[in-house]
């Protein structure tokens, strides 16, 4: 059996646990070395998984218990892609934290790795209950990371965040109970095969369960009207933590894709695509409200938090246009928006620490030192985030606009996207000019040395958007295949499970 699929979960959890034990528990430098090597290993593993997923979808039965009864991990193209994004982002945020957050307590790196483990697990699992468990793992690590460092604002934001997510977990469990009671399985492939065979009187119950799941995933991905927790939380957390959080809303989007594209997708009989009419208006409204938030934000960090909300709306639009025929554009945009929002959070921190009491708020303050370097990075990130040529945001937005062309939905999609681009552009130009041009000469500059690791983290994230422009065609071909994996007929997957089962039997006989 190929054990590669379990490593993205196993490696961070083992390393995190080891770091809690005496030889490593008080030594920051050793902890840092371990964490960095784990994060690098995760990047290598995810690259290997992408290579293997291009050949075929791998399933991994934990402990040899065969699906649909055992827990199954599934690595298809989409999973491998998202694992790679998480690995890169986690690496960049991880090296950014060196000498900053990691000094505050010896628990930072273990928590960080547990968070990465939870995110990886949520992407890997092929079982809905297991998805719940990994959601809880990533959430409980994020609760602790959020209030890491302490402070009044952090505890307040933390309490709101924890409460909202606990209620979300309760709703998640109710949804799982309803679905299990009617379908008799929580294995996603199994459910996808069974959903077409439901009795008419059970369909309404399954629909209820499905919509409850949509509610939970909308909460995780900060879809309107469940987005209120996000701006405050993201404004309170420390920089490298919030940069890692940039991928957390994408976990919600991924789950929506898996459940409403995979289980309740085109092959679901009477229940096919039943959630689409709900997602449509919410996605458009999310973009509209997110752009107003971007426009009204008082600091670069909350501006970026609202950018996250806008990007979730945009992603969901690609999910619903023409029954998901253009989901490949969505995956491309997902890569882009994760990298760029991650970079923007880090840049906001770099600028904020150099402006004294004004921090990253849009007010007049002393001149920013290293203005050329920081200003240049801010400019590139802003161009990518707004969607101006030549960076990847432009390609993503043009492709989304193009996919909505010719369909009735164009009337809604085009104005929403174009207006949001205009508003973000104005907001970013205001931010940049306040930071770098409207400085008051009276106040002295905070001279802070540039740490090479921190700049490297931002540069790596920004260079991915440039690389995504150059290799746009290859990435789009890959994500086209990923989208097809998602909507593939469940019998193909079933056959794969059957073959893996017969392999396991054969191994036992030997």
């Amino acid at each position: 059996m190929n054990h590669l699929p379990i490593l993205p979960i196993l490696l961070p959890s083992l390393a995190g646990t080891l770091m809690l034990l005496p030889p490593l528990s008080k030594r920051f430098k050793a902890q840092r070395r371990v964490t960095w090597s784990v994060l690098i290993a995760l990047m290598v593993i995810s690259a290997m998984l992408i290579l293997s997923a291009r050949q075929q979808t791998t399933t991994y039965a934990l402990g040899g218990w065969q699906p649909p009864f055992g827990i199954m991990l599934v690595v298809d193209r989409l999973t491998a892609l998202l694992l790679a994004v998480t690995a890169i982002l986690a690496f960049c945020a991880g090296i950014y934290s060196a000498g900053k957050e990691d000094r505050q307590s010896s628990l930072f790196y273990p928590l960080y790795l547990f968070q990465v483990m939870g995110i990886n697990g949520a992407f890997l699992t092929g079982d809905l209950f297991n998805l719940f468990v990994f959601f809880e793992i990533l959430l409980i690590a994020s609760y602790a990371l959020l209030i890491h460092g302490g402070g009044k604002e952090k505890t307040k934001a933390g309490f709101h965040y924890v409460t909202v997510n606990l209620i979300g977990s309760a709703v998640f469990l109710v949804a799982l109970g309803t679905l299990y009671g009617t379908m008799g399985s929580l294995n996603m492939t199994d459910m996808a095969a069974k959903v077409g065979l439901l009795l008419p009187e059970d369909q309404i119950l399954v629909k209820t369960g499905g919509l409850l799941l949509l509610l939970v995933f909308s909460l995780k991905s900060a879809l309107l009207p469940l987005h209120f927790w996000l701006p405050k939380t993201y404004a309170a957390a420390s920089a490298s933590v919030v940069a890692l959080f940039a991928v957390m809303t994408k976990v919600g989007f991924y789950s929506i894709c898996r459940v409403f594209g995979g289980i309740f997708g085109g092959n679901a009989g009477a229940l096919a695509d039943f959630a689409i009419p709900w997602i449509w208006p919410l996605a458009i409204a999310t973009i509209a409200l997110g752009s107003i938030g971007v426009f009204a934000a008082a600091s670069l960090r909350s501006l970026t938090a609202y950018m996250v909300i806008v990007s979730v709306g945009t992603l969901l639009i690609t999910f619903v246009i023409e029954g998901g025929q253009f989901l490949r554009v969505g995956f491309y945009y997902l890569l882009h928006s994760t990298a760029v929002t991650g970079a923007l959070f880090l840049i906001a921190d770099q600028i904020g620490t150099r402006r004294g009491a004004a921090a990253d708020r849009f007010v007049k303050a002393g001149p920013v030192t290293h203005a050329t370097l920081l200003g240049g990075m801010f400019l590139i990130a802003a161009i990518a985030a707004v969607g101006l040529p030549p960076l990847s945001g432009f390609i993503g937005k043009v492709l989304i606009l193009d996919s909505a062309d010719r369909f009735a939905e164009q009337v809604w999609v085009w104005p929403a996207l174009l207006m949001s681009s205009l508003m973000t552009m104005i907001a970013f130009s205001r931010a940049g000019s306040t930071y770098f041009w409207h400085s008051s000469a009276k106040e002295s500059a905070v001279d802070l040395k540039v740490r090479i690791t921190q700049i490297a983290a931002i540069v790596i994230l920004l260079s991915t958007t440039a690389l995504m422009t150059v290799f746009a065609d290859a990435i789009l071909t890959y994500s086209q295949d990923a989208a097809e994996d998602l909507r593939r007929h469940p019998t193909t997957m079933q056959r794969q499970i059957e073959t893996s089962r017969s392999h396991a039997h054969a191994e036992q006989e030997f």
Partner: protein
């Protein structure tokens, strides 16, 4: 039995939701606890309600579905850990802000209401 069970779940859920909507962290914690009890019961019922049925083959004549019981066990453990964390966080909020209010301090309107209530 089904009616009593459903009533239990319903009453606990509504009490939990009501308490979660209060303005103090203490009631919110109690509300979430009640909500998670209700959810655990609901999850348990998703394997259908049986009397005298063991989740093991060959012990009793009727067999209960073991999976929901495993799910409930997991959900209880997770819910318990989360509640413990929330309690600690609520205490921390109280010490940081000097108030049991969920937003750190009562809003202006709530202050007015309190003053009105105190008036004889």
């Amino acid at each position: 039995m089904e009616l009593v069970f459903a009533l239990c779940v319903g009453v606990m859920t509504s009490c939990g939701v009501f308490l979660c909507l209060r303005g103090t962290t203490f009631t919110v914690v109690i509300g979430i606890t009640l909500l998670s009890y209700a959810v655990n019961l609901f999850l348990f019922a998703s394997g259908r309600l049986h009397l005298n049925a063991a989740p093991i083959l060959g012990v009793s004549q009727r067999i209960a579905d073991p999976l929901p019981q495993a799910l409930v066990l997991t959900a209880i453990v997770i819910g318990f850990g989360m509640t413990a964390f929330l309690v600690v966080l609520a205490i921390r909020t109280f010490t940081d802000w000097g108030s049991d209010h969920v937003d750190g301090k009562p809003t202006a309107i709530e202050n007015v209401i309190q003053r009105e209530n105190r008036r004889p």
